[in-house]
Amino acid sequence: MRLAMRELIRRPARFVSAAGPLTLLVLLMLFLGWLLDGLFLGSTGAIRAHGADGFVFSADARESLLRSSVDEGDLNAIAAVDGVESVSGIGVSLLGAEVPGEDDVANVVVAGYQLAGGVLPEPPAPGTAWADRQFNALGAGIGDVVLVGPAATPIEIVGWVDDTNYLLLNTLWVDPETWREIQNANRPDAIVAPGEFQVAAVTTVDGIDEAAVRSAIDATLGTETLTEQEAVLAIPGVPEQNATIGAVIYATAVVVALVVGLFFALITLERTGIYALLKAIGVHNRSLAVGLVTQALLVALVAFIAGGAFGLFLGSVMPAEVPLELSVGRAVFVLIAVAVAAVAGSLASLRRIVRIDPASAIGAGV
């Protein structure tokens, strides 16, 4: 192993041909990962914001927020189910808006809700909104007024909330009445009745079997109650995003394994003489394998550090519209993926090393 390190230090140039492409692959994996996380968070924040244990959809909604409808009677009936602690009606409208700091008409979400929970405080006063901090990133400030919909209904921003967006649109959180007014003024095709919402976010009492409570709600009301996870995955495009970008990330990991495998196959060929010599003076196959894997891991680590630094730099100069989530978790995932791929790739050369005959070091023997 010492030997492997020495070689890396004394002959760094030969490892650059592996570390170079690996750096770019790490960059690609990190970027895709950060993008996937950003897309996922930006698409699902409005669901995750409530810290709810379940989301009640009407049966005919087929898990769509916009198609679902629950009324006051439903909310009361849900609240009466054993194990339910709180019920908060939620309604969302997707509308164009004039946002301060932006030239074009932006698409925004106006979401009405009843109760504090998760990252959301109590609903603000009528006509005002807690705005997702993304508005702030785009230049809006407290006291600014957003004009939403064709009716240009004004909503004043009075505070910020984090990670609450829906379908990559920035969300304004308002009280239920304000939401209904906005919906009805701007979407005459989809009028909501007084007391009506789209879904209900439910929390259960501590320590209870949450799945049982969800089943009980559906048994009583004939609704479809999803966990937060299920509700998130029911958002249009989210599973497709996960699958597509996930597949590219895993494919990249396979390419990493191939690059490492090819590189070490070549280097092993080149080092046949040295391996034979080392075996001839008594080095075990095991030590040679450890050395090989050590080199692969170190090359991968260097590539990770270089690719990570490059990625962080690029991420920091990206415009705010690119939904990159520079998460440590994703970096750790990429590090592990690259390490596993590097080990797998390098082990492909193991058989060749084992088969090198120490006798070839002296020129006699087969």
């Binding site: 010492r2 030997l3 020495r6 070689e7 004394r10 002959r11 003489g273 040295i274 010599l277 080392l278 075996k279 001839a280 003076i281 008594g282 080095v283 075990h284 196959n285 030590s287 120490p358 006798a359 070091a361 002296i362 020129g363 006699a364 023997g365 087969v366």
Partner: protein, 229 residues
């Protein structure tokens, strides 16, 4: 106890359709502090004999004992261990690890057997000094002359204080005076450590430095080779 014993050792190389007999009923005994010169023409089986003694090749049949142990019964793993601990080998063509300095080429052997690093460093420095390489210790093989490389290889062979050191034409790449010097050096090092050694050569002038000279022709050793001096 003899350091090395060959008893009726045959080695046949099978290449394509033909069999090449490289060792033919070889019987040999080398005492535990004896220096034996093995003299013979090219292709007579000298390297083959050394390789079998050093656990690099297995004989086709016959018994090989090193330090009283029958090495023909060893597994590949045991042979690897044997090569690390019990024999030192100086190859016919100098064979050093190219990215290690002279000193590190010696130390690598000590690491294999897990010698404490202080002891190893002391031993390496002593050897390098004795071999006249103390000022070249930090040089890479490419920065050394042929003779210097040869001496590093000798140092490496002695590093683990093996019971048996095998030299395959250690002076072939050197001019006569340097060759004499290296042979002197080998004699001094080996005798000082009470190590047995076999030195392959085809240069009769070098045999003066050995306790005994054995001839090999067409894989056959002198009849008296099994009787130590």
């Amino acid at each position: 106890m003899p350091a090395l014993e060959f008893h009726e050792v045959n080695k046949t190389y099978r290449t394509g359709g033909t069999d090449i007999v490289a060792l033919d009923h070889a019987n040999l005994t080398v005492d535990d502090d004896e220096i034996v010169a093995l003299l013979g023409p090219s292709g007579s089986g000298k390297t083959t004999l050394l390789s079998i003694a050093g656990g690099l090749l297995t004989p086709t049949n016959g018994a090989v004992h090193v330090g009283g142990n029958d090495i023909t019964s060893y597994s590949a793993k045991e042979l690897t261990q044997f090569r690390a601990r019990s024999v030192g080998f100086v190859f016919q063509t100098v064979n050093l690890v190219p990215f290690l300095t002279a000193r590190e080429n010696l130390l690598v052997v000590a690491r294999i057997t897990g010698l404490p690093s202080k002891t190893a460093a002391r031993r390496a420095d002593t050897l390098l000094k004795e071999l006249g390489l103390d000022h070249r210790a930090q040089n890479l093989p490419t920065q050394l002359s042929g003779g210097e490389r040869q001496r590093v290889a000798i140092g490496r062979a002695l590093m683990n204080e093996p019971e048996l050191v095998l030299f395959d034409e250690p002076t072939s790449a050197l001019d006569t005076s340097l060759g004499e010097q290296v042979m002197e050096l080998i004699r001094k090092e080996v005798k000082g450590r009470e190590t047995a050694s076999v030195i392959v050569t085809h240069d009769t002038r070098m045999t003066a430095h050995a306790d005994r000279t054995i001839h090999i022709v067409d894989g056959r050793l002198d009849a008296g080779a099994a009787q130590p001096a």
